[in-house]
Symmetry: C4
Subunit: 272 residues, 4 copies
């Protein structure tokens, strides 16, 4: 479906083989990007685990994807080929540049919405890992304009606001709801701004963080917070959310403990 990367690669290879001197500049611009080299096997293992955990914890179903920045080059990121997250193995991981062009697709099809990842990595050097999901309890917040807010310390990372990306307003037209172009990816990254999480109206959400364990943690507790917030709002119109300073302190404290659930989740998801 999306073998553009591969086609370009073969094209470039044959051009290289014929040693032409006058290749038009534009063609070289479309050549496959160079690789940052083999990724740390531990990072790949964690990326596979992140995929499985997100499925096991109900954040993703047959759809959704998680990426991580390449350890050796911040201008490259790693993301599975188009596949249900629960089925991802190390061999499915592809390398992309920040324009979301695959380095060496070898016939593998990428996710249509890989631009979510590349465009956020471009403008957020602090972000090292990204989850896109249709996490169920979050969907109703995206279509009602009810603000998602942290009601306990586990979701303190939601403080600072959770904006909603409305693809219709941003693109100025009726779309198929998918972030399938660099321009849409840039618009989404703009809406995200400096926050950790952005909702997508009629679609899903994106969580960002400084590592794979942290981004998985944020994916899981964004879902939990959405469920609990809806329950709290049903109980009472008077819900006390974390104060911004409480949230800032709690995020720092809880952030230091993420390895605890990560080890549990990994063992459960990989033991299947």
């Amino acid at each position: 479906m999306e073998n553009i990367g591969r086609r370009l690669f073969l094209g470039a290879a044959s051009l290289a083989g014929s040693a032409l001197l006058a290749v038009p500049r534009r063609l070289f611009a479309q050549a496959p990007p160079s690789s940052a080299g083999p990724a740390d096997p531990t990072l790949i293992e964690d990326l596979v685990a992140a995929n499985r955990i997100l499925a096991d914890q109900g954040v993703v179903d047959g759809y959704g994807h998680v990426s991580v920045r390449h350890g050796a080059n911040p201008a490259r990121y790693l993301l599975s080929r188009s596949l249900a997250p629960e089925l991802v193995t190390a061999g499915d991981v592809m390398e992309y540049d920040l324009d979301s062009t695959p380095v060496d697709p070898r016939g593998r099809t990428g996710y249509l919405e890989r631009f979510i990842h590349g465009e956020i990595y471009k403008v957020r050097p602090d972000v090292m890992a990204i989850v896109h999901s249709h996490s169920p309890s979050v969907i109703p917040f995206g279509v009602t304009g009810v603000a998602l807010r942290p009601l306990y310390h586990m979701s303190a990372f939601l403080a600072g606001g959770v904006p909603v990306f409305d693809i219709r307003a941003e693109s100025g037209e009726m779309t198929d709801m998918l972030v399938r172009t660099p321009a849409l990816g840039r618009a989404l990254a703009r809406t995200l701004g400096s926050r950790n999480v952005v909702l997508m109206r009629g679609h899903g959400s994106v969580a960002t963080a400084a590592s794979l364990p942290h981004v998985v943690f944020r994916g899981v507790y964004t879902e939990v917070n959405a469920r609990l917030q809806a329950q709290a709002m049903a109980l009472s119109s008077n819900v006390t959310y974390l104060d911004p300073e409480e949230a800032r302190k709690a995020e720092a404290a809880v952030g230091g403990t993420v390895s605890r659930p990560w080890e549990l989740w990994k063992r459960k998801a990989m033991g299947k």
Copy 2:
């Protein structure tokens, strides 16, 4: 319970055996229909998988059924004998004509409501597969008249409207709620019209599609959309649904990715 087909078959066989020339026309009209021949084993395998997936995903419980049009003859369809979907194997699959008369029942009892399938196949040549279920989150919509509407791209196929079939209004009498006659099947097909999904008041729903993976997808995401729509409506009276044009585009885009969850669901359901 419903061995009418078998009785007729044996009757016809013995009549044929005695080589009568003057068999009344009406008797032949009731003879078992001819077979379209053995179905493609891959189609049978997918039908078995569809049954198991729908159970695994919580769309059906001990009740509900899924059918597919015979690949060799659009006037025949395949449907399990009366059995809980989770227990269906290839040997349970029966062939029916569009009057829902079994070709070769061999003593197997058919579902009471097989007419749902036959009557829809008659008037909807585009429909190749049908799911009938009591999918839980959908039931409340059928009994309240609250319109089921697509709130995200995964359920874009709900755009165009989800009508409610009220068996009392359609039949003009108090029934046992079951679509147990050709006439009731025809009435249900009329209410469905050209849409993809129809709700049945006090009973369940029916999803239709152009293939087994697509109809399973629609069964699953009709349930998910119902759950999320109820949550969104509880959060706010101001829910933004997909615009019809967004839905049309999203359905086309998402429809092209159905093999992704299908492969996952199949592996999970058949691995049990």
Copy 3:
């Protein structure tokens, strides 16, 4: 804890051994009741399956119990010793008379609330099996006075009304909420009257039926109906329930298909 039955049995045995002629009438009245003989192994197997299924389907947790009338004598019933239903095996099944006195306790402790079973069997000869549970979604109906009503054909057996037993009103005093005496059992049976299901305020519910598969079916779909009715009421104040005549017809029709889920449930619960 409740070895009264055993103590009485041993007492009676020694009295019999000493061949006294002038044993006071009252003592004989308290002697262990006679056995109806060994129960049909299939009935015991079904009773064990019913216990496991109710746990597997979420109707019971560590608490709750299910009984069946003895096949050879309608004045005897079978019920596990005091044990979590999921752990019940054939060896745990005890025989009781309708006063809920064990025939041969052999040191086994009975459920405190066995009188629920005995007292209903006494006044409802049509009832052959009884489930008592704390089925979760049903509890809120018992404490709010909101009537549980059948919103689809699967729960048509709820038509005719689901009364609420308030142990405080019936006993005229503050109790520990348990039906731990014959008098409380009789009061519960009176509230049940000729219906199929009765709720117990601040406690749980009781379902009755003409067989083990049917009573398990009613336990399961009482829970499902409660969950779906609550969702429907949250969606709209205008819920259409089954008309009494629809319910009567649906119950007859669906009642004939109970072996379908029963076989599925049994295979799932016993395969664990």
Copy 4:
């Protein structure tokens, strides 16, 4: 992260080794506390089971902890090292004094919030076991001020009131929401007072009891009651809770049956 106990231990050991006579009093005050001796292996086994059960029953996820008072010395308690409860084994159990100083940490990191346990044990001699969790359905009650009240006999232990600990009000400042100091632990114990359960605003809850099976029971049914109470309140503004006398009697009666679910839960959780 928190190897203070260990550092002090090594310090004290070397001081002891050099047999100094004039060790300043303050240093001895900080020396590791003495051990109450090896704990009963059955108690350790039950503590491990309690950890696993709470995870299996959905009361804890990667976070939360459960402790028990040491059988040989009421001034010591047992608690796992900092670890997800589902992963706890006997070797992870550490011994603490009531100031929550570990007796023999051997490099193991303790939970940041161990002071919850120590400070409650100090002022509540009747409490022998404590659960701290983020039990999901309970969170909305802690942030809305809606009183958690027993709506059925299984949660009768909630009668007498469930206070809410607001760490901001108690500490007079913005915190990271964690009970990470003795002073905060004392404040929490004060809010708990003589009750069985206390909620923590924006955080979680604490259940206390006279044994591990009872505290696990309370953890489980606090969660169930919260879920059912929210459902009841959604159904009607007129919910009948247990009368205080009913609750007192029900608690005594149900309390005597806790071994029934405990055996079930243990078998399920440890069989994994």
